[in-house]
Amino acid sequence: MWITEYRDLISILTVSDLRVKYQSSVLGFAWSLVNPLLMMLVLYVVFSNVFHMSENQYALYILIGIVSWRFLQNGSSAAMSSIVGKPGLVTKVYIPRQILVLSSVLSVFISSLLEFLVLICLLVAFGVPISFTVLLFPFVHLLFLFLLYGLSLGLASLYVYYRDLNQIWEVLLQAGFFLCPIVYPLSTIPEQYLPIYMLNPITDLITIYRDIFLYGQLPSPATIAIVVISGVILFSIGRLLFDKLERRFAEEV
């Protein structure tokens, strides 16, 4: 397996990615934490009057949504340009190209873990009782990673051939932000549409994160099943695309 054979390269590439990202700004990592907090503040001010949420912890409700969403947004964007952005590693030397996708997803994964850590500190600070369900977080986040990796394989390989994919993806992400229950409560969705609405795995993931962090509940098996199934589907499609398109990467990059 290439993952075990090249694990040193994967970890060095991941860490280098993080170093480059955070070394260039003075505040470094702090900025990537300030960003979601500011975003939460804006959304809170705008939407707290619109929805008249019954949620006592509306601010934290939004923040969990944002932090989860950022993993998808940053991860998919970074991974999409992982092949095109490192042409030397594709055309001048042979390494399994999946490594480029995996290491860029992993570096965003580490950033995301730190964001969640700050989130947990805020939960404690706001007096939310932390339940044992928090222990499920690593498993859920690994599941999210798997889903994101599958998606990224597809996006990264398609982007080599279609260079306007990033523009399209940006719009889709914009739409996705409002299709997921990030700023509004699930109760605003009409009852009859709820089963369809819950088919979106990102919606399920956000719901799971809120269950384990905010409400101290075990996530429902149905939501987990949907996430696992969509993860497997995305991974299969992503890998199929990648294997098919990989052969001419060095000519197209």
């Binding site: 040193d8 390269l9 590439l13 480059v20 260039s24 042979y94 994919l165 000519e251």
Partner: protein
């Protein structure tokens, strides 16, 4: 179809290539966006392209410990051949058998990050060239020593002169200890004294019995290093044989081309 078989090689051969061919697609229109693709669908234009044969029925073999030259005029397919051997490009037909770990010196310093320090870049580049972290740690002193950059190990690469970057790259790459080296005219790096060190190092590797595939325009270097040569022209093998003979043919080939044009 291309196959890579390990261990199916005859004793003594490091590389065997049989009937290798590679065709590039040259599209009639460059379509690189989804928008352009959809647009052309409506216009009814199908995806059309010409094929350009970069390599056609190329066969040769390289023995273990041999220094083998590949020469030919521009556009003869030398780099394509090297990239197929490196595994970067896929062949469209033929068989390629490689025995041993192969290290491509097609371009030095691939993946260097200007924002990272020399030390970090050694680890990064070493890993890209196939070393484990442990190996790099062991060889780190030798690398920085050979590059003569001990004083600058914690300086960011963007503050290095281009000569220093190349020295760092060569020193790291040469420590990867491959069985087969693919060299594409990268050895003309650095100043005179570093150049000498490089040549010395290459000589050392040859005496250690490493296989070296050498692509160059410099006939003098090929003459000095390689015992056998392969002459390519327009993707076809013109001649394989002892270097002096092949170089002679090559010079005649260039001469006749010059006369006809």
């Amino acid at each position: 179809m291309e196959e890579i078989k390990q261990g199916a090689v005859e004793e003594g051969d490091a590389i065997i290539v049989e009937h290798l061919s590679k065709r590039y697609r040259i599209p009639h229109e460059r379509k690189q966006t989804i928008f352009e693709h959809i647009f052309s669908l409506f216009r009814g234009g199908a995806y059309s392209y010409e094929e350009f044969c970069a390599l056609d029925d190329v066969s040769f073999s390289v023995r273990h410990g041999e220094t083998y030259g590949i020469i030919g005029p521009n556009g003869s397919g030398k780099s394509t051949l090297l990239k197929i051997l490196a595994g970067v490009l896929y062949a469209d037909g033929g068989v390629k058998v490689v025995q041993g770990r192969i290290a491509p010196f097609i371009e030095l310093g691939v993946g260097f990050q200007p924002d990272l320090t020399a030390k970090e870049n050694i680890y990064l580049y070493g890993a890209i060239m196939g070393l484990k972290k442990r190996d790099i740690r062991e060889r780190y002193d030798a690398i920085i020593e050979f590059a003569e950059l001990k004083r600058f190990e914690n300086m960011r690469l963007k503050n290095f002169s281009s000569g220093m970057v190349v020295r760092l790259a060569f020193s790291t790459a040469i420590q990867t200890d491959p069985d087969i080296l693919l060299v594409d005219e990268v050895l003309s790096v650095g100043d005179e004294s570093f150049q000498q060190k490089c040549n010395q190092k290459i000589g050392e590797l040859r005496t250690k019995g490493k296989t070296i595939i050498f692509v160059s325009h410099s006939l003098e270097t090929v003459h000095n290093l390689c015992s056998r040569c392969l002459l390519l022209d327009k993707g076809h093998v013109i001649q394989i044989g002892p270097t002096p003979d092949v170089v002679h043919t090559y010079l005649r080939l260039i001469g006749s081309k010059g006369a006809s044009s």
